[in-house]
């Protein structure tokens, strides 16, 4: 069974964030004037009138960026435990991580050259 001591900060942060949000909402509702109008309840777009509904089809480029993000995210997850013990491991471990990253860099380089990271 784990002791919760090491997770106390996370737990505290969690509770704090929930309490903060609740508090701000309640206080602003209690003390602020509440006079809704059509313009005020509309979705916020720099104070301007929305130019169209937010629910519409997005270009596939977003998807590509999201997939690349996931892949690099997973890559970081793999590096995390290695980084924790990096100092105890020595040269062999360093070389292995270099190979790991080098293979991924090849993919990154490909994405770059093919313009997958460019927006236009």
């Amino acid at each position: 069974m784990p002791t919760f001591d090491e997770f106390a900060p996370i737990g505290a942060l969690l509770i704090l964030s929930v309490v903060m949000v609740a508090l701000i909402t309640i206080i602003s509702r209690l003390f602020g004037p509440y006079r809704p109008s059509l313009r005020k309840t509309a979705p916020y777009e720099s104070g301007m009138k929305p130019i169209g509904p937010a629910v519409r089809r997005f270009p596939v480029r977003f998807y590509l960026i999201a997939v690349l993000f996931i892949l690099f995210d997973i890559e970081v997850v793999f590096m995390l435990p290695w980084a924790v013990v990096f100092r105890q491991l020595g040269l062999f471990a360093l070389i292995e991580m270099v190979i790991f990253i080098a293979i991924l860099l090849v993919g990154y380089f490909y994405a770059w050259r093919k313009g997958a990271l460019e927006w236009e």
Partner: protein
């Protein structure tokens, strides 16, 4: 089973997980469903911490909530017709209910029975033997006598997946 702080925390996270899951399947708005899914995944992360697997919990938050849930929301936004769909689309929900129930029974038989079923002395492995810390994992990834080979192959797989995603999703050749 004694009732202590762990039981309470377990209860809280179970409610979060199951409630999120229920919300995901019952919600008629896909975006709402995706948000419920995040709640459910968060509950799972909490359960991982209870099981002494903080690294898995970190992955759960980082990859599942931080990336996969976002990708699901992206995918919803990419498909025009799905975004505002609010009626039930699946006409075979009664069939899937039967399948889900069957799978659930299978899980009960497969997992609950061996642990508490008759004639099993499955206490040979104490959980403590299996608990691995993040340090152990870091060593296992790069130790030639452990998992270095799958580790390196995983990077190649990620690269191939990245290139495949670019090939398939790029909007020009």
């Amino acid at each position: 089973m004694e009732f202590n702080i762990h039981s309470i925390v377990f209860l809280i996270f179970s409610v979060i997980t199951l409630g999120g899951g229920l919300g995901t399947v019952t919600s008629r708005n896909l975006i709402h469903g995706a948000v419920y899914l995040i709640v459910s995944l968060f509950g799972v992360a909490g359960l991982f911490i209870l099981l002494s697997a903080p690294f898995l919990a970190a992955i759960q938050v980082l990859v599942y909530i931080g990336a996969i849930a976002i990708l699901i929301i992206f995918a919803v936004m990419l498909t025009r017709s799905m975004t505002r769909m609010t009626e039930i689309y699946n006409r075979q929900w009664s069939l899937s209910l039967v399948v889900s129930a069957l799978l659930f029974v299978l899980l009960l038989v497969g997992i609950i029975l061996p642990v508490w079923g008759p004639g099993t002395a499955n206490a040979a492995l104490q959980p403590s033997e299996l608990v691995a810390t993040t340090v152990d994992l870091g060593v296992a990834f790069v130790d030639g006598n452990q998992f270095v080979l799958p580790f390196e192959v995983a990077s190649l797989l990620l690269t191939a997946a990245m290139i495949g995603a670019i090939v398939i999703a790029r909007d020009r050749d």
